[in-house]
């Protein structure tokens, strides 16, 4: 069984408009891949299609996670199979405390009849919150409700650390973070890097990639990957902008 997240010729549309237009990408376990690309190029669409959002219709292509056909699975099944998406805009869930939410997510991973050990759960959660410099008061607060932009992003990373996915997609987790928070979050991600886990990091800024150093960098433009390179590609993009690549594309 191949230990990779494999995307082949993915086409997806929303309201009949095609956004992903034949996207190919492979993230093997143990690697960190970055995706960069201009606004509206389809980065968040890709992440939501992978997570299974129902607004997006997959019209062609294939996605497998460690050999399993992802498109055959329900949204929640994909998560339990090991896929995690840190949202660009995390939703607020009024009245549901962060702790209860995380508990329900972990409980959903246990076999029927088995109960989460509450003491162990809190211990682990507090340790991970400490690592992210999150105040304990966030356990009792409703999920993302009234959180600042940066607090929401940190909360996404806390969830990732608790759920320990095999593949994590981080959609612009750096936006809204101040420099200290960025370092803390990057450190959290780096500590989770392992041969057992793959990352897909979506970002607009080279800055994040100074802290989470990618193995591979892709450029997404108009629903397709138009260039793939090593971490130097990110520097080049920062210097020259996307025009450099898209002009090249037109020229070809």
């Amino acid at each position: 069984m191949s230990q990779t997240l494999n995307i082949q010729n993915l086409h997806a549309s929303v309201d009949g408009i095609e956004i992903l237009k034949g996207l190919d990408l492979e993230v093997p376990k143990g690697e960190v891949h970055a995706i960069m690309g201009p606004n509206g190029s389809g980065k968040s669409t890709l992440s939501k299609v992978l997570a299974g959002h129902e607004d997006y219709e997959v019209t062609d292509g294939r996605v497998t996670m460690d050999g399993t056909d992802l498109m055959e699975l329900e949204i929640d099944e994909r998560s339990r199979e090991g896929l995690f998406l840190a949202f660009q805009y995390p939703h607020e869930i009024p009245g549901v405390s962060n702790a209860n939410f995380l508990r329900a997510a972990l409980q959903a991973r246990l076999p029927e009849g088995e109960e989460i050990d509450a003491v162990g759960f809190y211990k682990e959660m507090y340790a991970k919150m400490d690592a992210l410099s999150m105040d304990r008061k966030f356990t009792g607060r409703a999920v993302n409700d009234g959180f600042s932009g940066g607090e929401k992003k940190r909360n996404e990373i806390l969830q990732m650390m608790m759920l320990e996915p095999s593949y994590a997609i981080l959609d612009e987790t750096d936006s809204g973070l101040d420099i200290d928070a960025l370092k803390i979050v990057a450190e959290g991600v780096n500590r989770m890097r392992s041969p057992e886990r793959g990352f897909l990091v979506i970002t607009h800024y080279q800055r994040l990639l100074d802290y989470i150093v990618p193995d591979v960098v892709h450029v997404l433009f108009d629903g397709r990957i138009i260039k793939t390179g090593d971490k130097e590609l990110a520097h080049e993009l920062e210097e020259k902008g996307y025009d450099w690549l898209t002009n090249e594309l037109v020229a070809v």
């Binding site: 939410f101 329900a104 997510a105």
Partner: protein, 436 residues
């Protein structure tokens, strides 16, 4: 005509005699209240106060005073196993009779007695406050009936400065078809006193036609803090639950009251909050989960009767199947009650196309420098919220439950005391789990 012969409700006055020497004033009040009850018209939908109410759901006939419950010991056990762990005192009533009482700690000078005992031991004090609310939101016939019949429930009096962090608990059970219970609760908190009361209404068996005619009067004087919480967790078939509540808030005092409804076939709750003096503040919360053909009918009045008073009301309904809710809330800022802040919100979460949530917010202002707002909304759970939970591995159906529970929890979370909150939260969660 709505005024059919009201005697048809009862063949005889539903008074049970404990063989006690009760004060004359009380006996007289019972008698005049019974006469008032007989003369008052039946509730009718043509009355604005009963608009939208499905009175066909309730048949007031063949009613009777409840005979003693059979399984008292089992009921005491039930009340004990499920109560809040740390409490000041606990009283259990079944079919109007006290079947259990336990007192752990009460502040010096505090009175916390079953009504029948209080009438004997401190009758004059009871008399000063007993059934004094003259206003009505439509339930005056029920109020008269209650005054004619009640001998159960508590009289609580906290003198100046008496405070108790732990809640005083009561359980009221009813059993037996057409049996009526009349739970009474009268709480008086004098200056700077602090008290929390948590009442639970339950039925002994499923699907019995029991009737609760409850009355709750709360009085908080100078700087007192009073919290009252009612959990109605009766069987969801059969029982009819009527509860009339009044709150009188004095200078710089605060009353928080909450009504959580999970059971009963039909519920009618009326809550009148009077802000009487400067600095009076009242908060009223409700969290209701209705399914099947349950109907919850709630009417409220926030009456501002002095300057610089505040009030806030948050009612939340989650409805499934063919359930119905009615919320009618009036904010009244009386003449000269300047600098009033008053808010009122009713939110409905519709879990089915056939569920029906009616909201009638109202506002009457006769003062200046007033901040008031009222609003009601109805909606469904957003797909984005469900997606967010599902994306964390939680199955869709469970995600819906968690979100709905959170929706109701928003008003529970406004109460004081984690133990009280989680007691209510667990009960609401239990009902959600029973829905699927």
């Amino acid at each position: 005509m709505a005024e059919e012969n009201p005697v048809s409700w009862f063949a005889a006055p539903p008074v049970f005699d404990l063989g006690l020497e009760l004060p004359d004033w009380y006996r007289q009040l019972q008698e005049t209240s019974w006469q008032t009850f007989l003369t008052l018209p039946e509730p009718a939908r043509t009355d604005q106060n009963w608009r939208f109410s499905d009175l066909k759901k309730v048949r007031f006939s063949e009613l009777q005073a409840a005979r003693p419950a059979e399984n008292a010991e089992a009921l005491v056990q039930r009340a004990k196993t499920e109560r809040v762990e740390d409490f000041a005192a606990h009283f259990v009533f079944a079919n109007n009779r006290l079947i259990h009482s336990e007192i752990n700690e009460l502040p010096a000078g505090a009175i916390c007695l079953p009504l029948n005992e209080a009438l004997v031991e401190c009758g004059d004090l009871v008399k000063n406050h007993f059934m004094k609310e003259e206003g009505s939101l439509g339930g005056s016939k029920f109020s008269a009936l209650h005054a004619a019949a009640t001998l159960s429930g508590l009289f609580i009096h906290f003198p100046q400065g008496a405070t108790c962090k732990l809640p005083i608990l009561t359980h009221h059970f009813a059993s037996g078809d057409f049996n009526c219970v009349f739970p009474h609760m009268l709480v008086v908190a004098e200056g700077q006193a602090e008290v929390t009361v948590l009442e639970t209404f339950e039925t002994a068996a499923e699907d019995e036609q029991t009737f609760f005619f409850a009355n709750t009067d709360l009085i908080a004087n100078n700087g007192a803090n009073l919290q009252y919480v009612a959990l109605q967790d009766e069987s969801d078939h059969g029982p009819k639950h009527i509860q009339l509540n009044s709150s009188r808030v004095g200078r710089d005092a605060n009353i928080k009251s909450a009504f959580v409804n999970l059971g009963a076939a039909w519920v009618r709750q009326e809550a009148i909050a009077r802000m009487m003096e400067e600095g009076s503040d009242c908060q009223v919360f409700s969290a209701n989960l209705a399914n099947g053909t349950q109907e919850y009918d709630q009417r409220t009045l926030q009456s501002h009767e002095a300057q610089h008073t505040t009030s806030d009301l948050l009612f939340k309904n989650a409805l499934y199947d063919q359930a119905r809710t009615i919320f009618a809330g009036l904010i009244e800022v009386q003449s000269g009650s300047h600098h009033t802040d008053s808010y009122q919100t009713c939110r409905n979460l519709l879990g089915s196309d056939q569920a029906e949530a009616n909201a009638m917010p109202g506002l009457e202002i006769d003062a200046d420098q007033v901040k008031c707002s009222h609003g009601s909304t109805s909606g469904q759970i957003s797909d984005e919220e469900i997606f967010y939970l599902q994306a964390r591995g939680i199955p869709a159906e469970q995600a819906r439950q968690i979100i709905s529970l959170g929706f109701l929890n928003e008003s529970i979370a406004r109460l004081k005391g984690e133990a009280v909150q989680s007691y209510l939260f667990d009960r609401v969660e239990r009902k959600f789990k029973s829905l699927t």
